[in-house]
């Protein structure tokens, strides 16, 4: 396999997104048009705050903290976890779907249009238990998610019109996780079995293993019809980013990557590249781009260290990259940065 390492293409002038909460910024998620950005701030003390940012290119316009509810015991966000954001287009506006949990309360999926307090998308009397991993269909009218109501995680769908819930993938003794749909509606997900996790696809009612291996093959993402995922096949804490253009085929694109907290691999808008950070301190001040066919890799230098959690989007013809990193000196918390990387793709 041939790797082309074009080190140090650009020095980034990134915008730092400031927040008042203490904690590590993680899991930046763009809206499809790149005008909204949501991310988590994790203090590692049983509390994850969720923030929404309106963006104009790499400039932030306003920053809002997302809260799950108002009043009573859930007043404010103290001690609560708000995470796993997904943007949903509702007419001209964007709404945010996310997971919310707090002590004594199951993990549920909430939604907010930023005008009203966030509310559960699915009520307890519709489906009990923990709900997680929300993801949307291409037309954004259906949400797929995981429910543990039967013990292990199964995949369900929820129709925003009619509010119907249907079981999509269920297995008796395995946990399904990380559902994601491609443009043609094929559902990608992982199934946990024993000490490992493999990637599966269900399309047209047929459920089949796409790719497996030792350890975990986890958090898959579609890039057209290619699957990109993280694998720790080489060892528990050794993570690689891998592409698979057809079932059972694997191409390791990057070894020793910095595993994001929650996010799947970030794919470029043209579906040709994946971006990731590296664990190796010598390489961690850069973000690394690999072509999905494994023919090319280059890095993008930043002014930060321990770069990770990259997330790409396209906004008004510009390619924007959000990532988290520590400053070269002086801060204990990872901050969120946004940079325009359009030139890299030209």
């Amino acid at each position: 396999m041939t790797y082309f390492y074009l080190i140090g293409l650009l020095q980034a002038n990134a915008t730092e997104i400031p927040v008042t909460s203490n904690g590590h910024a993680s899991n930046p998620v763009w809206s499809n048009d790149g005008t909204k950005l949501a991310f988590e701030v994790n203090e590692y003390a049983g509390k994850i705050d969720l923030f929404s940012v309106s963006m104009n290119g790499i400039e932030y316009l306003d920053i809002k903290q997302v809260q799950a509810s108002v009043g009573g015991a859930s007043f404010g966000s103290g001690g609560s976890i708000n995470a796993a954001p997904v943007w949903q287009k509702r007419g001209p506006k964007w709404a945010l779907i996310f997971e919310h949990a707090r002590k004594g309360v199951p993990n549920r999926i909430y939604s907010t249009d930023f005008i009203r307090p966030a509310r559960p998308v699915i009520q307890m009397d519709q489906l009990e238990g923990d709900l997680s991993w929300p993801t949307l269909s291409k037309d954004q009218k259906q949400m797929y998610f995981i429910s543990d109501i039967k013990g292990s995680g199964d995949i369900y769908s929820y129709s925003f019109k009619g509010r119907a819930i249907e079981s999509v993938v269920a297995s008796d003794s395995f946990s399904e996780m990380a559902p994601v749909l491609n443009e043609s509606g094929s559902l990608l997900y992982t199934r946990k079995h024993g000490n490992g996790e493999d990637v599966y696809v269900t399309a047209g009612g047929n459920d089949s293993k796409w790719v497996g291996g030792n350890g975990d093959q986890t958090r898959p993402a579609w890039a057209d019809n290619t699957v990109v995922f993280f694998s720790n096949e080489r060892g528990v804490d050794l993570w690689d980013v891998v592409s698979s253009s057809k079932p059972s085929q694997k191409t390791v694109l990057g070894k020793g990557i910095r595993l994001p907290m929650r996010a799947p691999p970030s794919i470029s808008p043209d579906k040709q590249w994946v971006v990731y950070g590296m664990e190796d301190p010598k390489k961690s001040s850069s973000l690394w781009f690999s072509k999905l066919d494994g023919t090319k890799t280059f890095s993008y230098n930043t002014e930060h260290i321990a770069c990770g959690e990259p997330s790409l989007t396209e906004s008004d013809g510009r390619i924007l990259l959000a990532y988290t990193a520590l400053p070269a000196e002086g801060s204990a918390w990872r901050k969120l940065h946004v940079v325009d990387v359009t030139d890299l793709f030209q």
Binding site: G71, G72, A95, S111, I115, P117, K141
Partner: protein
């Protein structure tokens, strides 16, 4: 002493109410964690009913969440306002501000006489859970009580034949005045459909059975009973009424040509010979009116009504049991022979002609098998009639083809 006792009792009642409020509040707190919104709503209403205890800030806040999740947004607005009256937090201010920015008061009444579907519909899809909850709540209340007073999300709505728009309004300071600015929608009953939905010709043709029973009244001479086969042809008009059934009237002609199991009897000694008479057997020819109602279940039409007939019969033989004076009565046949003697063979050979006027009931069914045009369809038909002229019973039946107006095409 009495005053002291009374005040002690009042104090005890107040303490009980306060204790009950605390108990209900704790239950509400626990239910909130499990998302049991209906139960929270019920317990909050119980607190409101207590005379000497008021809901706390937390009660109002959680109850507002509950009613919001249940879709009762008017209750939500009231509860948020009550909570805000206790503690003016920015969160609550933003909350009722959001309600004022996204909802408007609506009053919908569906008339009792409105029998059509009156499901509330909205033009644009709702995605926000609060909006979906509010819409679902209004639908539920309307289907149960045919009346809804509350808050709905902005949008274009239809209910029954009415369309209306829920648009932003300025919320008054006093919640009591809120519904006075409501969009008022009344769903009147739709105009009654025309009395006649459609109509068309009705026709049938087929083989017929005609018979006459034994006379029950004495006459000088009564013809013997008879039965035979022939044909029946009917033509009429059928009208479908808005009540779901049809009325029809048809004119028919029916005859009997061949007598069943009875051959003509010729007696030469009395001048009655096969060559010397036109009589060739019992026969009947008549015309009539059949009118009634018809009801359809899919392809099967069932009909019933009254029928009257006027006919001419020529019958051989007399019924001696009811012909009290046949021996002294002379009946002129074409050959002018007399029957004024006691001769059994002669009684069987006598030919009587006469008019029959009878009325009664008829019923039948048609199984429609094919369409002739987009307004007419045809099928197999069977009809039975039972009539009387007060002297005896006449019965008839028909099996044949029929054509009726096609019910699925309205004219």
């Amino acid at each position: 002493m009495n005053i002291l006792l009374l005040s002690s009792l009042l104090y005890a009642d107040a303490q009980l109410d306060k204790a009950e409020r605390i108990r209900l509040s704790e239950e509400i707190k626990g239910l909130e964690k499990r998302g049991r919104w209906q139960a929270i709503d019920i317990k909050y209403r119980k607190i409101l009913e207590l005379k000497d205890a008021q809901p706390s800030f937390r009660d109002h806040s959680i109850a507002a969440q509950a009613s919001s999740n249940l879709g009762n947004m008017l209750a939500t607005y009231k509860r948020v306002k009550r909570a805000y009256a206790i503690d003016q937090t920015e969160d609550l201010k933003a909350w009722f501000g959001a309600l004022e920015q996204t909802l408007a008061p609506v009053e919908i009444t569906v008339g009792r006489s409105f029998k059509e579907d009156f499901a509330l519909k909205i033009q644009d899809e709702l995605y926000e859970p609060d909006d979906q909850n509010a819409f679902a709540f209004a639908q539920k209340v309307l289907s149960k009580r045919r009346k809804f007073k509350g808050l709905l999300p902005y949008g274009e709505y239809t209910i029954g034949n009415e369309s209306f728009t829920v648009a932003p309004v300025k919320f008054p300071e006093e919640i009591k005045e809120l519904l006075s600015s409501a969009v008022k929608v009344k769903v009147p009953p739709p105009p009654a459909p025309p009395l006649i939905s459609y109509m068309g010709p009705r026709f049938s043709i087929g083989g017929a059975y005609t018979g006459a029973g034994t006379p029950i009244r004495d006459l000088n001479v009564n013809a013997a009973s008879f039965a035979g086969l022939g044909g029946r042809l009917s033509l009429g008009w059928q009208v479908h009424l808005r009540f779901g059934f049809d009325i029809f009237a048809e004119l028919d002609v029916r005859n009997m040509m061949s007598s069943l199991g009875k051959e003509p009897l010729y007696l030469e000694e009395y001048g009655l010979t096969e060559d010397g008479t036109e009589f060739s057997g019992d026969n009947y020819f008549g015309a009539g009116l059949f009118s009634g109602v018809s009801y359809s279940i899919k392809d099967l039409d069932m009909f019933a009504g009254f029928s009257i007939s006027q006919g001419v019969a020529e019958i051989q033989g007399i019924d001696t049991s009811t012909s009290s004076n046949y021996q002294t009565t002379c009946i002129e046949e074409s050959r002018d022979f007399s029957v004024c003697d006691d001769n059994t063979r002669l009684q069987d050979a006598l030919v009587m002609r006469g008019n029959i006027t009878s009325g009664g009931l008829a019923l039948g069914a048609t199984y429609n098998l094919f369409s002739i045009t987009d307004k007419l369809r045809g099928g197999l038909n069977a009809t039975l009639g039972l009539q009387s002229d007060t002297s005896r019973t006449y019965y008839w039946g028909q099996v044949g083809l029929s054509i009726t107006p096609f019910r699925s095409v309205k004219q």
